[in-house]
Subunit: 151 residues, 2 copies
DNA sequence: GTCATAAACTTGCATTTTGCAAATAATAAG
DNA sequence: CTTATTATTTGCAAAATGCAAGTTTATGAC
């Protein structure tokens, strides 16, 4: 097989997805940053995660993350509940407003992505989506640097 | 077809690629940031781009970008040449050292990615790579927000 | 040509983000 | 009980960001 420039491929793909995400985080009155939208996404995705868990998943320094959570709490999007078994730990969850924000962003992003996939036929779309899923799985399993326990 | 969570798929994929990229920007003595590695990548990829062109491609504010270029010049990785036809314009190019740095990062990243693809057979790999390329093309063509002229 | 307008950058702040070091609080180990 | 260890928070100080305003060069109207 010819030598592919895999790096370029990934770089361009992620950049384009980044552009897609950029504008998509203001919902009604509230506006959050890209990083903050990732936090909502991840808090929603994990089951009652601690601050440390989410920070690690996102690869953010814990001190920076602690402050980001403070902002999100001030905005009324995230809640912090002390863990019952271990009171050092703060369990994160989304408020009703946070849920709504996350869902709206989700819908928006999926809409954008669907629009891209509209240019493909069913077979092509299915192949691409299956490939992305497959690749995703393999990236998790790979031992190559930089993976986090909770990926 | 069942409803996929496309956003999640993309988000995780790009995050994982981001992790892969994170550690990979120190070459020998020199160490550059992720953003700076993107700049080297893009300056190398485009044919004698102007400052504005690269800034736009990367979606960075031009004033921020101007300063980032200054840093890279100070590090001896990038060169600025006044355009012959229009002296307002600065043409960017990599120095020999910049080229080397970019190539090393490229090699490193491709090595990591190849390692992930090693867990697939030829057919699977080819399908995935073809899917990524295909998706990339369609993202460029799509009119959905956030694309830049030079993508 | 001259003057106004616009384009390609650059600099001056002022804000935000970041992360290391150190502090705090709670648990676990011995 | 005393000493780690763990989870999180604050105190800086450095870096990144972006708007407003400046500089230099080019272009258009006249």
């Amino acid at each position: 097989m010819e030598t592919e420039n895999l790096r370029g491929l990934f770089q361009l793909l992620t950049r384009r997805f980044g552009f897609l995400s950029k504008n998509c985080c203001s919902v009604g009155e509230k506006e959050i940053s890209l990083v903050q939208s990732h936090i909502l996404f991840e808090v929603s995705r994990q089951h009652n995660p601690s601050i440390q868990q989410v920070a690690e998943t996102l690869g953010t320094d814990i001190t920076t993350f602690s402050r980001q959570i403070q902002s999100l709490i001030k905005m009324g999007l995230v809640k912090k509940t002390p863990d019952i078994g271990d009171r050092r730990i703060s369990i994160l969850s989304l408020t009703k407003e946070g849920e709504e924000m996350n869902e709206t962003i989700d819908r928006q992003m999926n809409e954008y992505l669907e629009e891209i996939f509209l240019t493909m036929n069913e077979f092509e779309k299915e192949t691409v989506v299956r490939s992305l899923k497959f690749l995703n799985e393999r990236m998790v399993k790979s031992s190559v640097c930089c993976t986090t326990p909770l990926g």
